[in-house]
Symmetry: C2
Subunit: 558 residues, 2 copies
């Protein structure tokens, strides 16, 4: 099924949700980029999605070979400048809003999640080097990373240090000449090794001698695969994982310094690794939320196309006994409209968050903080939506959904990583109740809810806003355990409220008779009538507290 990137929808969201005209003077570029990205994603990247899945990345002692076609598609990515949209102009970027770059990334995610991960990781590194790198790093590395000539990676995780980054053991020892000797092993390194580019720039978290324990003692290093003198650095990909999905994205175990030590350079101050990591990570978290949006879009299109073509059974209660396309059956319609409503909701939430960060970059501190509040929502709920919509997509296909050739199953397999990486969704929920709920003395969160309240009209949305405030009050007064026990359902409630607000606003603006406007109103209507009340049903769990959870030993649960 050929993907059709939702250009009209993206433009509409950028206008009515992001206010893109307030972020760039050049409105023509918006259309040009959306259409160009759609053409590239549909024509070059999506056709590789299935071969990427069936063949996958292949490891050998010499390195990792990408599937046929990926090299050419990546060459076109670099040539087209698709990685440069939101990158700083001084590094060769176009300096355009992140929210516009987000639309492009969504298209790549929809087309081929495994392929899109390479530029996605690179974007995090651009942010980190741009914010914390030295002048020479910005001069020598940033332009080639921005162009995509040298893609970049994030080397955080070690076997004993997953969510607990502070437990990492990779070592960095000064060479005396400004460089450092890096030794250690990293796991789950996305695109840690591949043959799409001549060089790969690894951003590696490591511990310097006598560094304090935990997160306060870690530092970030730039460790290129090929050193400035053209020689190979002492690093290699020891193996890649055999995974449920995103088979074309090599998930590498990286060995640094097997031959004595890899050479790296500090990014930012010593022991400043966590701050630099969060610069990378926050960008990556929003982008992972966009993965959910992209997968949801692709899965929805595939399901709708199937439902339009698959003829089965007469309409119940109809006069005709002729079989109809299954899209006409009410429960299939329910599934399709649910997919559409969730996809549109997740997109609105994600673009809105990127827009807030864009405003923050332009000096609006309140918007920057709102972006911080929204980041865990976009990451966790966006990826939950990706999985739910992909799973419904399988269901719409019936037996064909379980047959791999159809492509519906791949969407679910690919989507299922997104709630896990870049901070599990449980970590996002903890971030929401632990940090974001109290940000700026609580004003950042409360300001968001106040803005929502000032605009929402549907009684269901008002009821959900009431419930969100009630739960927020409870959780703020609660101890750590009770707060964390309710964090996940609370995050979902906040996400649905924010998405519902933005969908209702769009429905008001979509007052015309075009199929697009009709769809917008139908999707918003479904979201408010069905999805919002479901979120209200989560309030009890959000306030249930932790006592019950600890009333039994975990051993007894097995």
């Amino acid at each position: 099924m050929p993907l059709r990137c939702p250009v009209e929808e993206q433009r509409f969201v950028l206008e009515h949700v992001v206010g893109i005209h307030e972020l760039t003077n050049d409105v023509d570029i918006v259309d040009a980029l959306l259409e160009g990205a759609a053409q590239y994603a549909e024509g070059e990247v999506e056709p590789l999605n299935r071969i990427g899945d069936t063949v996958g990345a292949k490891w050998s002692p010499e390195g990792v070979a990408m599937p046929q076609g990926f090299h050419e598609a990546y060459r076109q990515f670099v040539e087209g400048g698709w990685g440069t949209i939101s990158a700083p102009e001084e590094a060769g970027g176009q300096g355009l809003p992140l929210s516009l770059g987000a639309a492009v990334m969504e298209d790549l995610n929809a087309a081929n999640l495994a392929f899109a991960l390479c530029p996605m990781l690179t974007m995090g590194a651009i942010e980190a080097i741009g914010a914390h790198g030295s002048e020479s790093q910005k001069r020598d590395y940033l332009p080639r990373i921005v162009s995509g000539e040298w893609p970049a990676t994030m080397n955080l995780t070690e076997p004993q240090a997953g969510s607990d980054v502070g437990a990492l053991r990779t070592k960095a020892v000064p060479n005396g000449d400004g460089s450092w000797v890096i030794t250690g092993s990293k796991i789950y390194i996305t695109y840690g090794e591949h043959d799409l580019a001549d060089n790969i720039i690894h951003l590696v978290l490591a511990r310097t001698p006598d560094a304090p324990a935990g997160t306060r003692g870690i530092s970030l290093f730039l460790v290129p695969k090929v050193l400035p003198d053209g020689s190979c650095n002492d690093l290699r990909c020891a193996s890649i994982e055999h995974k449920l999905g995103i088979h074309a994205s090599p998930t590498c175990t990286m060995a640094f310094g097997d031959g004595g030590g890899a050479t790296g350079w500090l990014i930012g101050p010593e022991h400043g690794g966590m701050r630099a990591m969060f610069t990378m990570m926050n960008n990556a978290r929003l982008n992972v939320g966009l993965q959910g949006v992209g997968i949801a879009e692709a899965a929805t299109q595939r399901a709708v196309a199937y439902a339009l073509g698959r003829v089965q059974s007469a309409r119940a209660g109809g006069v005709s006994k002729d079989a109809v396309a299954i899209e006409q059956h009410p429960d299939v319609r329910r599934m399709l409209l649910r997919m559409k409503a969730l996809t549109m909701g997740a997109r609105a939430l994600a673009y809105y968050a990127f827009g807030q960060i864009d405003r923050g970059h332009r000096g609006d501190k309140a918007a920057a903080m709102r972006g911080d509040v929204l980041t865990p929502l976009v990451k966790a709920w966006g990826t939950d939506v990706g999985c739910e919509v992909a799973s419904i997509g399988i269901q719409v296909h019936g037996g064909m959904g379980f047959v791999e050739e159809t492509g519906a199953a791949q969407h679910l397999r690919d989507a299922r990583i997104a709630p896990i990486y870049e901070g599990t969704n449980g970590i996002q929920a903890a971030d929401l109740v632990g940090r974001k709920l109290g940000l700026d003395g609580g004003l950042a969160f409360d300001g968001l809810i106040a803005d929502i309240r000032a605009e929402i009209e549907a009684p269901a949305l008002v009821a959900l806003a009431d419930a969100v405030e009630m739960v927020a009050t409870t959780l703020r007064a609660a101890d750590h355990d009770d707060r964390l026990a309710g964090s996940y359902p609370f995050l979902t409630m906040c996400s649905v409220l924010t998405a519902g607000w933005l969908l209702e606003r769009q429905a008001r603006a979509a007052s015309g008779d075009s199929p697009f406007h009709q769809t917008k109103r139908a999707a918003a209507g479904f979201f408010i009538a069905v999805v919002v009340p479901e979120a209200l049903g989560l309030a009890a769990g959000a306030e249930a507290g932790a006592e019950l959870l600890y009333s039994v030993d975990a051993e007894a649960l097995a």
Copy 2:
């Protein structure tokens, strides 16, 4: 991770939910069977689960080769008489309650869903031949099908006839000697061909000459792979599907009569195929619900074991800064308890339904009808629970959950077929609101709710019972479209209410200090505090009607 079948839990549910002592005089046999089945499932069947997934069934023009170990495990299945428990004594069965056989099937499902499908399909055939077969069919085939020596299949689906069985085209023409010539092609035939047994008994739906159109014109035929004279019948497996999961279960395209015609014999009267099919299917639907339970049990055990062993991060707000096993973190506990609560809830609902059918077989007509009401609930909600719990299980594992070697991902891949086959969950929801809500003038459904109301105590359960009755009233008065539009959320509400009722009852009975009793109370408590209010949140969707669904053309949703 070695599976430990939940014998204590199964015994408890059989006692407090099923009332097994009212269904059999021989209570000792219950313990013996539960323990024996656990030993067989854990020792012989579960160890083949991973090889079944990685190697899978292999097709060649000569037939389908099963993975190493499956032949020996199946031989032990036959020798151990594991297929005979609930089969009629006159056919060599043990004549024990279906609810007891259900516990055994749950164990096999938990151990290896792909393996368990072979006996599961056979059970449907035993019911159909037992109810509708001729005396000679019962004499010549049933004992060997019951023993497992000759496993059986259900041949319903054709490319144009999935959910709409009446659209099938396979033909049956009388030979004049009581046999029929069968020609046609069937798809999605589970265990349609394999090398576990010398013969396979296909039950095939076909259309006789001049039969009326639609479901009223189809008949059921017994079509053995090997004919009574020892010659091969004219049927073959043309290919098998490449699927998301249950790789060791061959999903066959079957060609009947390529060489002129396969030989078959009518089961029951001509044009009586639908009735015979529903005999097979109703049994199979409950058994598919049990697949959800089995997968949920296995996924929960695997996640708990991982969470107990995986040490990561200190407890938030705790005095110690030492990392703890992740089961100690509140949100991980929430996931584990949710898995446990959903698994226990789905098990209680499924066993209860089997128990009602057992009572029906013993002459209790009200119980038989209640079993009919419960069948779509068990099938749809049980399989939804299987998928949800398997997905949470991946999440508990973090990055390891996405790596296939861990085994968590396989549970989701395997579980995902269950909402589709034996009537999609949407078909189940349509069955609930279209047939079961009005069964016996509505008394069958209303009697269930009345019994629930008479026993439930928790206000959340009472509120859900109120909502279920309110929605039932709405849907009974609604037209086809509105009724079907609300069918799926209504089914979930009914399922959660019934499961919550049975869990609350068990929690009252589990008043001791044992870890098992504590777990029962904690799981029931979580279910009522968290899952029941979520179901209440579905009421708005159940009553939303179809208008919104049809306010836009499906084309516009792509």
